[in-house]
Symmetry: C2
Subunit: 321 residues, 2 copies
C-alpha cells in the first residue's frame, strides 16, 4: 500500500527533471516522511544530494515566491537554510507530476528530542542570526496565525473546544480577552520563522547545521518568534517539566546574537501566552477534524494549555530571561 497523501514520482520522470539542472544523474530516490504537508524525496545523484519537494494542497502556491525569496535571502547571508536550486534557465519553481515542486539543498543534521542547554543556546544564536539577517528583508506575508487568526480559529472551533476538555472554550475566551488588552503590537516587527520547534532545527552535536520548514514564516512581532521557540524547546512534549536552564541558555544565545530589548523582555509573558494559544488552537482544530483512528497521530492540544497556564502563572524571573 502507498500513502495516499504523497504524490508518486516515477524514476523516469525524476531523471528527466534532474536533467534540467547541472546536478548529476539519479542514483537513489526515497520518499521521506516529513509530516503530511508535502511530498518529499531524498535524492542522490552522481554528484549531489537533494530534497525534491512537491507542494501538496496545504501549502498555498501563491506563497511559494515569498518562501523561496526568504530562503535565498537567508542563504545569501550565510544562514544554514535549504535553498531551492535554480535550473539552467534560472527557474526555481518547477512542476513535477502535476504539482508545484522545487529541488532543494540537502542539509545534514538530526533533530534532537531532549535538547541540552548547549543545544538550546545554539538554537537561540541561530534564531538571533536569522533575525539579524532578516532586518533588510522586504518580503511580505501576513501572519494568518497571529492575534486576529486566533480569534477566528477559536470561533471556528466553537463549542467543540469543550469536547477536548471541559471548560476549554471559556479558558480560550479568557485568554483572547487578555491578549486583546495586552498584546505588545507596538514592538518591532520582522519576518519570523514562527515554528522553530526542535523538529525544524538540524543539529550535529551542539551545532546547528540547518534551520528548516519555513512554511509558517510571516511578518509578526519579532520577539514572538523567541517566545514560540521558548515554548517549543523548554518543556517536555506534554507541556510539563519546564526546564529553566534550557530556557536561560536559549535566551542568552539569542541575546548574544541579536539582542532582546527591555521592552521585549517585559512583554515576554504575553508573547509566550500568545505562542501557547496559537499551538493550542491549531492542535485543537486538527484534533476535532482528524478521526481518532486515522493513520496520522493527533498532537494533544492540552500540551499547549499546560504551557499557557505555566506562562500565565510564572513569575517573569522564572522564564530564563
Amino acid at each position: 500500500m502507498d500513502l495516499a497523501v504523497y504524490t508518486h514520482v516515477p524514476a523516469e520522470e525524476m531523471e528527466a527533471f534532474l536533467a534540467r539542472y547541472d546536478a548529476g544523474t539519479l542514483v537513489s530516490a526515497k520518499g521521506i516522511a516529513e509530516g503530511v504537508e508535502n511530498s518529499n524525496y531524498l535524492i542522490d545523484t552522481s554528484s549531489h544530494r537533494f530534497i525534491l519537494t512537491l507542494y501538496e494542497k496545504r501549502v498555498d502556491v501563491a506563497d511559494l515566491p515569498f518562501f523561496l525569496s526568504l530562503l535565498d535571502h537567508l542563504a545569501d547571508k550565510g544562514l544554514p537554510v535549504p535553498r531551492a536550486l535554480r535550473d539552467r534557465q534560472g527557474v526555481q519553481l518547477q512542476t513535477v507530476s502535476g504539482r508545484p515542486a522545487c529541488l532543494i539543498e540537502f542539509l545534514n543534521g538530526v533533530s534532537v528530542t531532549h535538547p541540552t542547554p548547549a543545544q538550546a543556546h545554539a538554537t537561540g544564536v541561530a534564531l538571533g542570526r536569522m533575525h539579524a539577517a532578516l532586518a533588510d528583508f522586504g518580503g511580505q506575508r501576513a501572519n494568518a496565525l497571529g492575534p486576529d487568526g486566533w480569534v477566528a480559529l477559536a470561533a471556528r472551533c466553537g463549542d467543540d473546544l469543550d469536547a477536548i476538555a471541559p471548560g476549554l472554550k471559556a479558558r480560550v475566551s479568557e485568554e483572547l480577552a487578555y491578549l486583546a488588552d495586552n498584546w505588545p503590537g507596538e514592538l518591532p516587527h520582522s519576518v519570523v520563522h514562527a515554528d522553530l520547534f526542535p523538529d525544524n532545527v538540524l543539529m550535529l552535536g551542539d551545532e546547528v547545521s540547518g534551520v528548516i520548514d519555513f512554511y509558517f514564516a510571516a511578518r509578526e512581532v519579532r520577539a514572538w518568534d523567541v517566545a514560540v521557540t521558548h515554548a517549543a524547546w523548554c518543556f517536555e512534549n506534554d507541556g510539563t517539566g519546564f526546564d529553566q536552564n534550557r530556557a536561560a541558555a536559549l535566551i542568552a544565545g539569542y541575546d548574544a546574537a541579536f539582542g532582546l530589548s527591555s521592552a521585549e523582555r517585559a512583554a515576554f509573558p504575553a508573547l509566550a501566552r500568545g505562542a501557547s494559544l496559537r499551538f493550542l488552537l491549531t492542535r485543537a482544530w486538527d484534533w476535532l477534524n482528524t478521526p481518532a483512528d486515522a493513520l496520522v497521530t493527533r498532537k494533544d492540544p492540552l500540551a499547549f494549555l499546560r504551557r499557557l497556564d505555566f506562562y500565565r502563572d510564572a513569575v517573569p524571573g522564572a522564564l530564563g530571561l
Copy 2:
C-alpha cells in the same frame, strides 16, 4: 502530524544504537516511506549509509531469523541484497524503541515504472542468479500465499468478492478449481522471493543494483517465482497492455542465468494464473478491509483479474517463453 504507523526513534536513541556498531557517528536520519509494513529510516553516519528497519506488526518476529539468514546467504554469494549488519557482539536482530530492528546495508538504485526490455532482461538474470544461489539454502518457511493459502483467503473474502466486481466470487472459485487440478506441484521447489515487482528491484540504468523486500520469501514451486515476476513486469499497472518484448527479455535473462526447463515452460500458464490469483486475492482482502478514505491508496484487485484472464486466454507462444 506524524504518521501513526511509524515508530518515532529519537535521535539520541539512534546515536546510542549506532555506538554498538563500528559504523561512524550519526549525521542524518530521515524516516522513509516504503509502504506501511515497517518503519524505515535512511541513516547517514560519518562513514556509511544504512537503512534502520523497525519491524511493525505485519511482520512475524518468528520469521526474522529466516529472512536474515536468507539475505546473508545471498549476499555471501555476491547477490546485491541488503544484508543486516552485525554489531560488535555479532548480533543482527536488535531492539530499538521497543520494536525488533536491524541496521541494514543501503543499496543505490531506483525502481523503474516503465521497464525497458533491457531492464526486464537484467531482472530475469538477477532472478536466475538468485535461484542458483538458493539451490543450497536450507532455510524453511512455508508459503502462506501459495495454493492452500488462496483457498483460505478466498473463503475469508467470501461473498464480499462480488462487492468488488459482480461475478468475482464465481470467477475465483472457477480458478481455484482449475488450479487444484492443474497446479504443477511436482516441479522443483526452492526458497523464492515471491514478490519481485519493479518496486523491489533497484536499478542504475539497465543494471540491477539491488533486490529488496524479501518479506514474502518462502519455499514454493521455483518457477512460480518466474511467473510472479512475469505478471509483475510485463503489463501496465492496471493489468492491460501485455508487452511481449519485455516478457521475452525477462524469460531470456532468466534462462541464460539459470534455465527454465521444458516442464516449467509447459506449466507456465498455470503458474502465471496462480501468480495472478495470489495478488488478486490479497488485494481483494486489503480492498475490503481498507476504508476508501484512508490515508493509504488501495491497490485495485481487478488489475490482477485482467492478468488472470490474459493468462487463461493466451496461447503459450504469446507469453515470451
